[in-house]
Every structure is written in structure tokens, then in C-alpha cells.
């Protein structure tokens, strides 16, 4: 197998020069996003470098409790990002979304690592951490889109929701069209992305594995499994997040609480 070319710091710096394109375009159209883009890029760099350092240690130690603790930290950060990006309040959504995220990754990780790959130790850092990271990274977008679609649409179309309730719908029946809409909005892009995988886009993980020296066949098999686990954990997380947060987002009469929104 051919050795992997390392990217030295000078070349890494050259790579960063590509960021001048988005920054230039965002600046030209006065989007107000230049500062955010620079901060996001710096954050990404620092975070990945730190994670690189951290993962080196965590892989060496490979302690189950430490790995689980890291997983909980990742889930908490993912939850925090979700809530911040949805415009909903932490007070009502932190607990239900964190619990949903943990349950969904627990189920999918256990199935994938324990049953599909059949690891002797499902807490093995080399598998548990990157795979959970992939699941969380992809789930965040699904949950943000679906929570926004669900709660904002009920708020915008309060009249429709009330019409259902006051004409005999149970709460579950009244929420069903909004749930359907949220799932469609969140998963239509996932389905489209899944359908073109390999033809138009080569996924990051597979590319990474191939660049890292893995056999392309092994990389493809992992990628297929990852696509399926990402889809499953995403939809599970969306469903649980909406179902669990319903308990806090509606009053005892089934009315959506206005105070769940940060901005409205």
C-alpha cells in the first residue's frame, strides 16, 4: 500500500488560502458573515487540533469510562448547538434533546458496534468515538431543521392546529401533520444525498479512510454502514426530540407555549 502524503504546515497554510474565496464573496455581498466565517474557521482548526491531541491520548488509554464521559460531552455540545440554532429556550429543550440524543446514539452505537461489527469491546475508543462523532455531526442538522419546522409551523399556523383540536382531534392527531412536515423537511435532503452517494459525492469518511491507506472495499463497506446508521440515528433523534420536548412546549390544555421561543 502506498504511503500517505503528510501535509506539512506550509502546505496547510496554502490550503487555508482557499478560504479567501468564500470570505471575498461574503464580503462583496455585504452579508455580515465575514467575521462569523473567520471565527468558525479558527474554531474548527483549534478544535480539530485539540481533538487530534486528545484522541491520541484517549486511544492510548482506551478506558471505557473515559470514553463514555467523552461521548456524553459530545452529546451535550451537540444539544447545545441544536438549541442555539433553533431559537428555542434552553430551559424547555435542554433535557429532552440531550436525553433523545443520548438514547439515539446509545441504540445505534450498540447495534452497529456490538452486533454488526461485533467488537469484543463496544467501548473501544478507536471505534466508539469517531463513529459517535459522525452520528452526532450529521444528526445535529436533522434535529435543527425538524424542530424549527415543527414548532415554528405550529406557531405560524396556530389557527390550523386549533381547528384540528376544536373539531375533535386528539393532541396526537392534531400534531401529526406538523410531525409529518418536520420529518419531510429534515429527511428529504438526506434521502437525496443518500441516492447520489458515490456518483456525485464521495463521502468524507470514506475518502479519509482511503487517503489513510485503507483498502477501498473496506472503506466502502464502512461508508455504507455509516450512511445507514446516520439515517437511523437521525430519524430516531428527531422523533424522540419532538416527542420528549412536547411535554414541556405545550401547556396542559395542549396550547403551544409562546415563551419557548427566544425571539418571538
Amino acid at each position: 500500500m502506498q504511503d500517505v502524503f503528510d501535509i506539512n504546515y506550509l502546505r496547510l497554510f496554502l490550503g487555508y488560502a482557499l478560504m479567501l474565496i468564500p470570505i471575498g464573496i461574503l464580503w462583496y455581498y455585504k452579508t455580515g458573515l465575514v467575521k462569523d466565517t473567520i471565527i468558525a474557521t479558527l474554531r474548527m482548526t483549534v478544535q480539530l487540533l485539540l481533538v487530534g491531541l486528545y484522541l491520541e491520548y484517549i486511544f492510548k488509554l482506551n478506558n471505557a469510562w473515559l470514553n463514555i464521559a467523552w461521548l456524553i460531552i459530545m452529546a451535550t455540545l451537540a444539544t447545545s448547538t441544536i438549541i442555539r440554532r433553533t431559537g428555542l429556550k434552553y430551559k424547555y429543550f435542554l433535557a429532552p434533546i440531550l436525553i433523545s440524543t443520548l438514547i439515539s446514539i446509545l441504540i445505534i452505537d450498540a447495534y452497529f458496534l456490538g452486533i454488526v461489527i461485533k467488537l469484543d469491546n463496544v467501548f473501544d475508543a478507536r471505534y466508539l468515538i469517531p463513529i459517535t462523532g459522525m452520528l452526532l455531526g450529521n444528526t445535529i442538522r436533522n434535529v435543527i431543521i425538524s424542530l424549527n419546522a415543527f414548532y415554528n409551523r405550529i406557531d405560524d399556523e396556530q389557527n390550523l392546529y386549533r381547528w384540528y383540536l376544536a373539531n375533535g382531534a386528539t393532541r396526537k392527531e392534531a400534531l401529526l401533520p406538523f410531525m409529518r412536515d418536520a420529518l419531510k423537511k429534515a429527511f428529504n435532503p438526506v434521502i437525496a444525498n443518500t441516492a447520489i452517494m458515490g456518483l456525485i459525492s464521495l463521502p468524507g469518511m470514506m475518502t479519509g479512510q482511503i487517503l489513510g491507506g485503507s483498502n477501498p472495499n473496506v472503506a466502502v463497506k464502512y461508508q455504507i454502514m455509516l450512511m445507514i446508521t446516520i439515517f437511523s440515528s437521525g430519524i430516531l433523534n428527531v422523533l424522540l426530540s419532538i416527542r420528549f420536548s412536547n411535554r414541556f412546549a405545550f401547556d396542559h390544555y395542549g396550547n403551544l407555549r409562546k415563551e419557548i421561543f427566544r425571539m418571538k
Partner: protein
């Protein structure tokens, strides 16, 4: 059928209802009138449980209005909203959606019932094949009213039921709805003919 005692509703600093009491008998036809902001729609929103912050006792068919009873209370209603621009694609959905709920499934109307009510409301049945955006406000209002009537509920709550209807159709629709025996009807309305045909008119312009 409906008893309201010592009702207080306040929005901010504004007292919408202050010590308001009302008894509505079974089968009674009530018209609620008044200027904007006097709490007409609030009254319907209270009965449907869409206002959870109130003081006083409200009973609907013997059930106290509270979170525990709200579903059983809502079972008794068919509700026509003032804003009929519900986000639905087809007129068929607008008409049949309430009959998809488990509570109303058995009441899904047969063809004869649809024919009769559409005739009474001057609606052509081909309207069911149209898109909602293709029909007028008055047609939407009549389709929703027809759907409410066919649910055969004990209580109809109607928010401006004739506001988009022309004079001739207004009379036909009003006569049909207010002629429903044993159905309690509470309508928020500015329509003089509707008020004239109702058993009681409650004006909210006076102090509650």
C-alpha cells in the same frame, strides 16, 4: 349546557371579562356581538381551552373546563374559525379532514348527506375537486360550515359564520344552521339577520 360564573380574563392591563356570568341552555342559539377587541373571539377561545389563564367557573355539559376534561369537552364541539385560510391544498381536505379524526370517523358523511347540505348552502359538488386557492372566501366559509354541521356535534362554535357570504346565500345558510334543533349554537357575529334569528344576543359593548 354551558354555565359561566364570575369569569375574569385579563390580557396585560386590559380586563377583557370582569365578573362575567352566563347560562346557555341546550339547543339555544346565542349571538355574541360587539366592537373589535371587546373579547368576542376570546369567548370562543375560552370555551375551546385556547385560553388557559382565566379565573371563574366554566362548565360545559356538566364538565368543568380544566386540563383534565378538555379533550372530553372539545369532543362536543365543531368549530368554525374566523380565519378560513387554513393551509390546505384541496377543498376535499378542507371538508373531510375532521372526519379523519378517530372521534368523527363514524360520522363521515354519505353522498346523500353531502348532496343535501351542499344544496342547502348553494354549493356545487364539483367544488370538492378544486384547489383551495381556486375558490372564494365565501365558498371556503360554506364548505367549512357544511363540515361543521355534518359532524353532528352538540355545540357549534362559529366565529363570524356569515361574514363572507352575500345577502341571498347568507339567509339560506343562517336559516339552515339556526334551524338545527337540539344543537347549541354560539356565534360571534356582526350580522343583523343572524342576530335577529338567534334566541339571545349578548352584546359585549356594555360593561361585562
Amino acid at each position: 349546557m354551558i354555565q359561566i360564573q364570575n369569569l375574569f380574563i385579563t390580557f396585560g392591563n386590559e380586563h377583557i371579562y370582569e365578573d362575567f356570568s352566563l347560562n346557555i341552555k341546550k339547543g339555544e342559539k346565542i349571538a355574541i356581538s360587539g366592537e373589535s377587541g371587546k373579547g368576542k373571539s376570546t369567548f370562543l377561545n375560552l370555551l375551546t381551552g385556547f385560553i388557559s389563564d382565566f379565573e371563574g367557573d366554566v362548565f360545559v355539559d356538566g364538565l368543568e373546563l380544566n386540563p383534565k376534561n378538555i379533550y372530553n369537552i372539545r369532543k362536543k364541539y365543531a368549530w368554525l374559525p374566523q380565519e378560513t385560510a387554513l393551509n390546505m391544498q384541496s377543498v376535499k381536505d378542507l371538508f373531510f379532514t375532521p372526519f379523519n379524526f378517530s372521534l368523527n370517523k363514524e360520522k363521515r358523511p354519505e353522498q346523500k348527506q353531502i348532496d343535501d347540505i351542499f344544496t342547502a348552502f348553494s354549493l356545487d359538488e364539483s367544488i370538492l375537486d378544486k384547489k383551495v386557492k381556486e375558490i372564494s372566501g365565501g365558498q371556503k366559509q360554506r364548505v367549512l360550515l357544511a363540515s361543521c354541521v355534518l359532524q353532528k356535534k352538540a355545540i357549534l362554535l362559529l366565529d363570524e359564520p356569515s361574514s363572507a357570504l352575500d345577502k341571498r346565500i347568507k339567509k339560506r345558510v343562517t336559516d339552515h344552521i339556526l334551524g338545527l334543533k337540539n344543537t347549541t349554537i354560539i356565534a360571534v357575529t356582526h350580522d343583523e339577520y343572524w342576530m335577529k334569528c338567534s334566541d339571545k344576543v349578548i352584546s359585549l359593548d356594555k360593561d361585562n
